[in-house]
Point group: C2
Chain length 444, copies 2
Amino acid sequence: MKLTMQSAKVAIVGFGTIGSGVARLLLESADRIARHAGRRIELACVVDPDLGRSRNVTLPEGLLTDDLSRVTDDPEIVAVVQLIGGLEPARSIMLRLLDSGKDVITANKALLAEHGPELFDRARELGRSISFEASVAGGVPIIAAIGECLTANRIESIHAILNGTSNYILTQMEEQGRDYATAVREAQRLGYAEADPTMDVDGTDAAQKLAILAHLAFGARVDWKQIPRVGIDTVQLADLRYAAQLGYRIKLLAVAELVPEGLELYVSPTLVRQGRPLAEVRGAFNAISVVGDAVGRVFFHGLGAGQMPTASAVVADLIDTVVGRARITFQTLDLWSEAREAPVTVRDPAKIPGRFYLRFPVEDRPGVLAEIAGILGRHRISIASVIQQEAEEEGQGVVPLVIMTHRAPEGAMDEAMEAIGKLSCVRAGSVRLRVRGQPQMQER
Amino acid sequence: MKLTMQSAKVAIVGFGTIGSGVARLLLESADRIARHAGRRIELACVVDPDLGRSRNVTLPEGLLTDDLSRVTDDPEIVAVVQLIGGLEPARSIMLRLLDSGKDVITANKALLAEHGPELFDRARELGRSISFEASVAGGVPIIAAIGECLTANRIESIHAILNGTSNYILTQMEEQGRDYATAVREAQRLGYAEADPTMDVDGTDAAQKLAILAHLAFGARVDWKQIPRVGIDTVQLADLRYAAQLGYRIKLLAVAELVPEGLELYVSPTLVRQGRPLAEVRGAFNAISVVGDAVGRVFFHGLGAGQMPTASAVVADLIDTVVGRARITFQTLDLWSEAREAPVTVRDPAKIPGRFYLRFPVEDRPGVLAEIAGILGRHRISIASVIQQEAEEEGQGVVPLVIMTHRAPEGAMDEAMEAIGKLSCVRAGSVRLRVRGQPQMQER
């Protein structure tokens, strides 16, 4: 490198797994990063309340501190990687960093999904930038793809696997025949799931990421809490087996689709036909399938979480920030801006149509199928296929009845499910999942 | 849009299929593009020697001209989309545009692969930018991904399907059982292949694109003509069938892989295990699998050619150019620069090891397999599997012998093939293809 090369000072706030990965890249790949940034990126400070914990990177003497003002008071530090999770104090720290004149890079999707409008407004007022490639799909550059590369397109749909934990658990269940609880424990043991995996398995994490993508792709100001979401905690091993029998796999899909009536948004375990790219995504991977009116379908696949894939995205944002690209992108994206007219309206979830996979635990006696089919028929929901099997244990008296429907509105399905639930032959524990694509037809 | 919004004037040089697509997007999606660019992008001029040809877009009166000076003499035109194919006059026009102060966007990979150093040097001297997302893999944003999004990584390998025509032909052969010549005619009829498809089917197009990606990902200054390349014109229907029998599909892969000895580069029809993402790429699609040391494997899939996918990439570059991002990217990428030290050396093609698929037309008599196996053994090439079948026509006397080898250096394979070719039992028309991955082991 040229000796005269200028340098840019940066800091990391939050020295956990991702923070250590970012520090490792900045320290161990400094020359390569300098080549890409046209200047050396100097890690000047790392802030974390826990000074004692051991990490898999050794910082130079004096870099680690628990005092945020060492960052905010140093005018030479131009960009800060903010990796504090959760909402508070993450939000306050982010505002303090912006107020002190720093451009910020973050991986905190919950913070953006919840406080995006406030944070982006403040950054705009102050002429600063917020970059967030790492907040969705980890190492897969989907934020840049949608925000910068597909900008000539009207985005028509996004179908994505955005939660690696859920996908890992579903894959374990499918490939190893493990039940849900065992697969969750295995995921925890291997570090793919948190001690409390609720936010991953109940669809919250995927809904927050979908809200960010929907905002980026459609300009839709979406409250992630309004996105209808079903998690994988409702999926049983039996469902994966019936799906396989019907030629499908079950994936936790996050879907945003522009239709004449508006933008359809939901997160749901969904039956995807075997052989389709999204169906073949295994383990802790993420994948995103985007359709644009000019480009057609573009498919992205990679690790959606983990220390180094996420750090890769954070450092790319850091390079973008110090070279000045992030500032331009932030201004042109104009995200969560009150000034910007919302180009689409979000569709009433009760009206989102689709095909459904239904499983009812029913009494093993004549006439049951007729009763259930009758209710579906009265709600104008037609049946595409049925699986009814004998009781696994002799004399148990309750058997699963599996029905795949043709396309029906979610509202009609709600009503039909309620009516079916009241039948004396139907026991508690019915399951309803979405199905992607048409029966016996080529799917897009 | 705000009435006070500024605007940027741009021009198109070369009004063929892609040029018409770009014009369509600029005219029909003007509002959306203005939203992404923070200003209106005004198509001020379209230059083409053929003023009469009908295109699928109607330009406003007075825009189309055959006079390039209407662009070069207009200081208000800031960016020009240069879509003239081939080397000349494309090169001269590109230099003239740069000299007249325009930033340039191009989809011409042959021009970049051949004259990259001269064009990029000139642009740097003049403080201008050249953007070329559309030159590789059409609508798939692989240039941005490698050049901007994976910059924290040491790229370890690229395995890619970069020629949609070849992939379409191979898919037709595999799925429809068509022979090579019939599949080529079908591709021509549907517009997937040119009247003279040589550059697509002989690996030239893929090698030129690979040279660009290798330059971007590894900083390797590669003369595309030095990349060993084999096209699909050597592949027979029988090879696809034997490959399928062995659990593989044949794809025209462009490969760049960093190994301790340097950078391995080649284009070759390659057996890829069924079920691997690259094996499942069908029709005119492109796909790129990139491995980075931090991010792991990232996979991209989309339409690699065609009017609107390519126009989508061109217009994204145009937006990048008018907002100022392209200028920064061009400076930091520092491509084909003499000043920049080459971080890797390209490995001698004769030394690139691999597994190979071999098919020999041999006499149907005892001892043939022993003779061929003996020669392979003397060159230290071990055999992984063999298929020898009976002659399809009784008494024909010549049968195919198919051998899959274990890993062997290309040089040893060259020598063995030469020796085998001299055997009296071996007829002309032997085939050698590469094989990706290890036998009976999980491939990366």
